[in-house]
Symmetry: C2
Subunit: 355 residues, 2 copies
C-alpha cells in the first residue's frame, strides 16, 4: 500500500471513529456540560488515530464487520487520549498536537479529572458489546482492555521511577520492556487482539498478530523518539527536542550515555538531574536547578557524536523486519484485502513517517 493510500485509510477510520465517539457521548443523558466537551478536546485535535484503524483493519482483514468493531475502536481512541492527558500532566509537557496541553489550558485538577472521566466512560461501550457481539467476545475484549490498562500504568511507573532515581545505566532490553508496557500494549497489541476477537479469529492467528503488533510497537516508539530529535516542528506537532528537555529515557539517550566516556557521562547525568524550566508565564521555583539551552545542546552533541540516532534507527528497522515475518504467519489463508494491505503498509509507514 502506498503511503498516500495508507493515510487515506487512516483518515477514513478516524472519521468513523470520531463519529462513533460523539454518538456514544450524546446518547448519555448525563453527558451534558463542560466535562464531556473536554473529553473530546484531544480526540478532536489533528491526529493519526492509529489505534482504531489497526483494530478496524484487523477485524475486517479477518472477515469481520466494520460496525461490529467501531465501538471498541472508539474506546481504544478514548483510552489513548485519557492516557495522553495524564501522561502530559506526569511529564509536565507543554504541547500536544500543535496546541497547549489540557492541563496547560485548564490546570492539573481538571485535566486529571477529565482523564478519569474518560476511563470511567470507556467501560460503557465495552459492556454494550455483550448485546452486539455476544457475552463471550465482550468478556474477552474486557480482558484485553484490563491487561492493556494495567501494562500501560506499569510501563509509566517504570519510566517515572527511572526519572525519580535518575537511572541511566540501562540497556536496550530495559527500554524495550518499558515501551512495550507503556505504549506497545495499548497502541498495537490490544487493537489487533480486539479486532481479531471481534472477527472470530483463531488463537494461532491472534498470537501471530500479537507478535506482529509487539514488534511494530517497538519500532514505532523508537521512531517517535527519533522524530522528536529530527522532525520538522510544523508537521510533527510536538516541540522538537522536548524529550531532552524532559530528560526522557529514550533508546537514543540511553545509547549515548552508555557510549560516552565517564567525564561526558557525568556532565550529562548532572544536566539530566535538572528540571526543565516551567511553562511560559508561570513563576519559576527559585530553589531548583533548571536546564539551559546550552545543557540541551550538550546532550544533542553527545547523541550526534556517538551515532545514537543511527543505532536507534537500526534497532527500529530490525523490529520492523520481525513485524513483517509475524504478519506473514498471521495472514496465512486469508484472502487479499485493502485491510491486510493497510496492516502490512504500516511497517514501512512506521519507519518512514515524518510526523
Amino acid at each position: 500500500m502506498r503511503a498516500s493510500d495508507l493515510v487515506d485509510y487512516l483518515h477514513e477510520c478516524r472519521a468513523l471513529t470520531l463519529a462513533e465517539l460523539e454518538a456514544m457521548i450524546s446518547r448519555e443523558t448525563a453527558c451534558r456540560g463542560v466535562l464531556y466537551e473536554r473529553m473530546l478536546e484531544y480526540p478532536m485535535r489533528s491526529a493519526k488515530a492509529l489505534r482504531p484503524a489497526i483494530c478496524i483493519a484487523t477485524c475486517r482483514a479477518l472477515g469481520g464487520r466494520l460496525e461490529a468493531a467501531l465501538p471498541s475502536a472508539a474506546v481504544l481512541e478514548l483510552y489513548h487520549n485519557a492516557f495522553l492527558i495524564h501522561d502530559d500532566v506526569e511529564d509536565g509537557s507543554e504541547r500536544r498536537r500543535d496546541k497547549p496541553t489540557l492541563h496547560g489550558v485548564y490546570g492539573v485538577p481538571i485535566a486529571v479529572n477529565v482523564g478519569d472521566a474518560m476511563l470511567a466512560f470507556a467501560l460503557g461501550p465495552l459492556l454494550d458489546n455483550t448485546r452486539t457481539l455476544g457475552v463471550g467476545k465482550a468478556l474477552r475484549i474486557l480482558e484485553v482492555v484490563h491487561r492493556m490498562a494495567k501494562e500501560s500504568a506499569e510501563g509509566q511507573a517504570i519510566e517515572l521511577e527511572w526519572i525519580r532515581e535518575g537511572a541511566f545505566d540501562l540497556d536496550d532490553a530495559d527500554y524495550v520492556r518499558m515501551v512495550e508496557k507503556k505504549t506497545g500494549h495499548y497502541s498495537f497489541i490490544a487493537p489487533v487482539q480486539i479486532g481479531g476477537i471481534i472477527a472470530g479469529g483463531q488463537a494461532a492467528r491472534l498470537d501471530a498478530l500479537a507478535r506482529f503488533a509487539a514488534a511494530l510497537g517497538v519500532a514505532f516508539q523508537i521512531q517517535d523518539d527519533v522524530l522528536n530529535l529530527t522532525a520538522d516542528e510544523g508537521r510533527y506537532g510536538k516541540e522538537i527536542g522536548g524529550d531532552l528537555w524532559e530528560g526522557k529515557h529514550t533508546l537514543i539517550l540511553m545509547h549515548a550515555m552508555r557510549s560516552a566516556p565517564e567525564e561526558e557521562r557525568a556532565r550529562a547525568r548532572a544536566i539530566l538531574r535538572k528540571k526543565r524550566p516551567p511553562y511560559a508565564g508561570a513563576s519559576p521555583w527559585p530553589s531548583e536547578a533548571l536546564k539551559s539551552e546550552d545543557d540541551v545542546a550538550f546532550l544533542l552533541a553527545l547523541i550526534r557524536r556517538h551515532g545514537s540516532v543511527a543505532h536507534a534507527q537500526g534497532e527500529a528497522r530490525r523490529r520492523a523486519g520481525e513485524a513483517v515475518t509475524a504478519l506473514a504467519a498471521a495472514q496465512s489463508g486469508l484472502g487479499p484485502s485493502v485491510h491486510l494491505d493497510f496492516l502490512s503498509g504500516l511497517v514501512d509507514y512506521v519507519i518512514d513517517r515524518d510526523r
Copy 2:
C-alpha cells in the same frame, strides 16, 4: 447495634478486605516492585473501610456468602483509594489519614500514575467474578461499577467547575446533587447494589436499598463537612478547617454565603478566590494572592454567626430519617442478623461519629 459493636464489625470487614486485596495483588506475577507497594499505601493507613463493610453486610443480610462478596468488596476499597489519591492531587490536599498525601510524598506524576494503576487493576477481580458468581451477576456488577466511576468523575467535575468559576450562588439541592454523584454513588449506593446482586436480591429490595444508601450518603457527607470544622484533629486524621483553606463547597459554607448580608458575602467571595498557601517547604508562587489565618477566621465567624453548622446538622438528620424509612422497606421479609443490625446502626453512626 451499639457503636462499639459497629466499630468491631467495621474492623473485621476491613481485615478481611485488606487480606483479600493483598492476596489479589500477590497473585499477579507482574505485580512486583514499588508500584504495587504504593497502591497499598492509602488502604493500609488507618481507615474505617466503610465501603467494603457495607457491601459485605448487604450481601450477608440478604443471605449471601462472605466469600462471594470479598473480591468485589476489595475492589470497592481499591476504587475508593484511587479516587482519594487523584482527589488529593486535584484539591491540593496535604494530609490523608494522619500522614502526608501520596503526591506530597512522591510528587504529582507518581500519584496520578498510582491512581491509574489501581483503576486498571480493579477490573481484574470484577472479570474473575464471572467464574465465581456466574456471568450474569458479574456483568451486572460491572454495570454498577461503570455507573459509579462515571458518577464520581462527573461529581468531581461539577465541584472543580464551581471552584474554577468561584460559584457560591448555590442552594442545598445543588450541593446534594454534587455529593450524591461525587461520593454518594461509589461510597454507599454501589456497595449496597453490589452486595445485593451477589446475594441474588430482588429488584424491589435492591431499589429500596439504593434509596437507603443515597440518603445515608448525603447525611455522611454533610457530617464529614461538619467534622472538618468541629472535630478533634488527632481522632479525625485530616487538618481541621482544611475545607475552608481549600475553599471547598460545603453545605455549611453555601448556607453561610446565602445567609450573609451583601457586604460580608463580597468579602468572603474575595477570600475564597485566593489560593491556599503551598505546602510547607515549597516555594510560594509570588504572583498569587494567598489566604491568611485572618481570612479563614473570618469565614469561620461568618459560619458561626449564621448558624450554618446547625443548618447542616438538621439537613443531615433529615436525610438520616429518610434512610431509616428506606431501610425498613428494604428489610421486609428478611430474618434478623448482625449484618442488618450493622446497616441500621450505620444511620446513627454516620450522624454521631467524631472522625
